[in-house]
Symmetry: C2
Subunit: 403 residues, 2 copies
C-alpha cells in the first residue's frame, strides 16, 4: 500500500495486446491498494518513423517542430492505455507532459526538467483515478512542447516519483534488471540485485542502456528508490538505492561498453590559460557532451588535445571547430569513429587499489591496444578499437566478476 510510479517503455506498449497486458498489471497494483501513476513511452518504432518522416520534409527540421511531432507518440500511448484501464471497473485519466505539470528549460529535443507542478496529479489520485502520464515530454514556461533526451521517459517517471514522494519508482523494461555485463556478449553475466545510485549512474553513462543516466542522477539527488524489472514476468529485478555498507564488499559491480563513441583530436592548441575553456565552452553551448579528455605534454608552447563525443554529435562538433578553430589557432583536426569505450564500475574501488592495473593487464594479455584512459573514484574506462569490444568485455568480466 502506498504510491507507486511505474514506467513502461516502447516495447511494452508496442501494440494493442501489449497495452492490455500493461493495463492488467496496473489494475492489479491498484487493487492491492496502491495509488498508481503510470508513465509511458511512444510505441516502439514510432519515434524513429516520425523522425524519418520529418527528414523527408526537410534536412534540418527545426527542433521546436520536431518536438511538436514527436510528442504525438507518447500522447498516442497514454490515450490507449487509459482506454484499456477504463475498460475495467477502474478509472484512468491520461495527461500530456504539459498537463502533468512537467516544466522544462527551452532547449528543444534535449530539454531538462526544471520543475514538476504535481497538484493536478495529486488531486486526480485523491479522486481515486489511475493517472497515466506521457513520458519524454514537458513544456516551457510559455507552453511550448519540449522533449527530453532519448530515453527521457525514465527521467519523467523519476521526476514525478520525487515530486509526489512516491514509495518506489518501477522502471519496466524487456530484461529482468541490470546485468553485470550485456548478456548478449557475456552469457554468464548475472542480474545485479542491488546497486547504488553512483554505480548505476556510471553504468548508465558508460553504455548500460537499461536506464537513462539523467534519470539515475535525478533519483540519487532526491533519493527515489528505483526498481528496474521486466514487464514480461513478476521476477524481482534490480533495486537502485543509496550506498549501503554491504555494497563495498563488491569491488567491481559491472562491466559496460559503448560503441556510440567517436574520438576527436585537435592539434597545435596554444598552451595558455583559457584556451581549454574556450574550446569546451563552444561544445557545451551546443549541448554536446564531451567525455574523456587527454591533453599531451606541451611542445613549443603548443599542445594536442583528444576527447570523445557520442557519434551523433561528431558532425556538429566538427562544424564548431571549423568556426572557432582559426581564432584559437588550431592547426589540424582529426577524428576516428572506429572506437568503443569499455569500463568497469564498482563502489568497492574506493577502498581497493590496483583495479586499474589489473584491467590493463587483462587487456594486454588479450593483445588489445588502449587508446585513452579515464578514471573516477568508482570506474575505469578505456577506449579501444571497435572490433576489440567483445573480446575486452568478456575478458574483464571473467577477471572481476565471480562466477
Amino acid at each position: 500500500m502506498g504510491l507507486i510510479v511505474q514506467k513502461y517503455g516502447g516495447t511494452s506498449v508496442a501494440d494493442v495486446d501489449r497495452v492490455k497486458v500493461v493495463a492488467q498489471r496496473v489494475i492489479k497494483n491498484k487493487e492491492a491498494g496502491n495509488d498508481m501513476v503510470v508513465v509511458v513511452s511512444a510505441p516502439a518504432g514510432m519515434t524513429d518513423e516520425l523522425i524519418e518522416l520529418a527528414h523527408e520534409i526537410t534536412d534540418e527540421p527545426p527542433a521546436r517542430e520536431m518536438d511538436m511531432l514527436l510528442a504525438t507518440g507518447e500522447q498516442h500511448s497514454i490515450a490507449l492505455l487509459a482506454m484499456a484501464i477504463c475498460n475495467s471497473k477502474h478509472c484512468a485519466i491520461s495527461l500530456t507532459g504539459y498537463q502533468a505539470g512537467i516544466r522544462t528549460d527551452n532547449v528543444h529535443s534535449k530539454a531538462r526538467i526544471t520543475e514538476v507542478q504535481a497538484e493536478r496529479i495529486t488531486k486526480m489520485l485523491d479522486e481515486g483515478n489511475i493517472v497515466i502520464v506521457a513520458g519524454f515530454q514537458g513544456s516551457t514556461d510559455d507552453d511550448a512542447i519540449t522533449t527530453l533526451s532519448r530515453g527521457g521517459s525514465d527521467t519523467s517517471a523519476v521526476a514525478l516519483a520525487s515530486a509526489l514522494e512516491a514509495d518506489v519508482c518501477e522502471i519496466y523494461t524487456d530484461v529482468d534488471g541490470v546485468y553485470t555485463a550485456d548478456p548478449r556478449i557475456v552469457p554468464e553475466a548475472k542480474k545485479i540485485d542491488t546497486i547504488s545510485y553512483e554505480e548505476m549512474l556510471e553504468m548508465a553513462s558508460l553504455g548500460a542502456k537499461v536506464l537513462h543516466s539523467r534519470a539515475v542522477e535525478f533519483a540519487g539527488k532526491y533519493n527515489v528508490p528505483l526498481h528496474v524489472r521486466s514487464s514480461f514476468n513478476e521476477n524481482q529485478g534490480t533495486i537502485v538505492t543509496k550506498e549501503g555498507e554491504a555494497m563495498e564488499g563488491v569491488v567491481v559491480r559491472g562491466v559496460t561498453h559503448d560503441k556510440n563513441q567517436a574520438k576527436m583530436s585537435i592539434f597545435g592548441v596554444p598552451d595558455r590559460p583559457g584556451i581549454a575553456y574556450s574550446i569546451f565552452k563552444a561544445l557545451a553551448s551546443a549541448e554536446i557532451n564531451v567525455d574523456m579528455i587527454v591533453q599531451t605534454v606541451s611542445k613549443n608552447e603548443k599542445a594536442d588535445i583528444s576527447f570523445t563525443v557520442s557519434k551523433s554529435d561528431l558532425r556538429d562538433a566538427l562544424e564548431i571547430f571549423k568556426k572557432v578553430g582559426e581564432n584559437i589557432g588550431i592547426t589540424d583536426i582529426a577524428y576516428d569513429e572506429d572506437v568503443a569505450k569499455v569500463s568497469v564500475v564498482g563502489i568497492g574501488m574506493k577502498s581497493h587499489s590496483g583495479v586499474a592495473a589489473e584491467m590493463f593487464e587483462v587487456l594486454a594479455e588479450e593483445d588489445i591496444n588502449i587508446q585513452m584512459i579515464s578514471t573516477s573514484e568508482i570506474k575505469i574506462s578505456c577506449v579501444v578499437k571497435t572490433e576489440d569490444t567483445e573480446k575486452a568485455v568478456k575478458a574483464i568480466h571473467r577477471k572481476f566478476i565471480p562466477s
Copy 2:
C-alpha cells in the same frame, strides 16, 4: 495585403509531397504581403485509423481519452507543415488548439468553441511568423483536450478568422467550390459563385459536405467572409457572404441530399403538454440532433411521433428510449435506416411561392414516395427511400436550376 486565415483539409496534407505543395501556397501568399494563419486537419485517413485502434482496445472508449488520441492527428500535420515552411527563408510556428487559445465547453468529441484567446497568435504574427494551428481541437477551462464535431477544422478556421478580424477565411478542399448539386450525381451541376450564409447553412446541414454547418453559422454570426476553393488550382471558388439584394433573383440556389439519416417513430405517446419536451430533452442531453419531426393527429389521447436523426446517433437514441420510454408511456418504437433526405435551398423562396408544390410534382412524376416533409423560409426537405435519392436529385435539379 491583409490577414488571411487558410484552412486545409486532410487530403491536402495526406502525404509529404502534398504538405510541401501547401507550404508553397502559404509562402506565396506571405510573399504577396499578407499575414498568414493556417489551420490544418489530420492527414486523410489518420482519424479513422485511430478510431479503429481505440475500438480494438475497448468497445466504448471514454470520450475524453478518444479526444486525447485523435488530437495527435492534427498535431502531426501542423508540425510537418511548419517544418516544410521553415525549409524556405520564412519562419513558421505550429500551435495545438490549446496553445492557439481555442477554448471549448467540456463536451468531449462534440465540443463547441466558447472563446478564442488570440493574443499569442497576434504576437507571433507581429514578429513576422507564419502561424500554423491544429484544427478540430481545443481545450476546456481546466486544460483537457477536446475535439469538435467531425469536420470541425472549418469551425476552428472561422473562429480564428473572427477573433483575429481576418480579411478572409479561405477553406481549401478537393473541389472547386460549392455546387448546385453533387456533381457525381448531377454531371451538369454548376459551381455557385456567391451564396448567402443562410443558404450555405441550410446546404451544409442538409448534406453538402464541402463546409461544416457549425462553421457557416459562426461565419454568419461574426460576418467572416468565406472563400471555398480548391487546393489543386488557382480558380476562384465560392464566396459565402451576407445576403445581398441580387441574391433573391435565384429561387433555388442548390439541391442537396443526405443518406446519413435514420427515421425513428415512437407510438402511443400520451397527448398532453410537456411530453414532447421530455422526449426531445432526453435526446438533446445526449447531444443527439433531431431534424425533421412529424406528429400524427391524436387518437384516444395518444399520438405517434416520427423524426430523423443521423445514422450514427441511432443506437444511442434507441438506448435512451428504452430507458425513458416506459416512464412516458410509449407503447412501441420503430426505426428505418433505409431513408435519405433530399432538399432544395434558396433565399428566393422567401418571395416566390409554389416551390414546394413544384417539388412534390417532380417527385410524383418520378413515382417517388415522400415519407416526411419539412420546410423553412428558404428550404424544403423530403424524406424518401435511399434507392430513390439519385433519381430525385437529378429530377429536381433539372426542374429548378437553369442549364
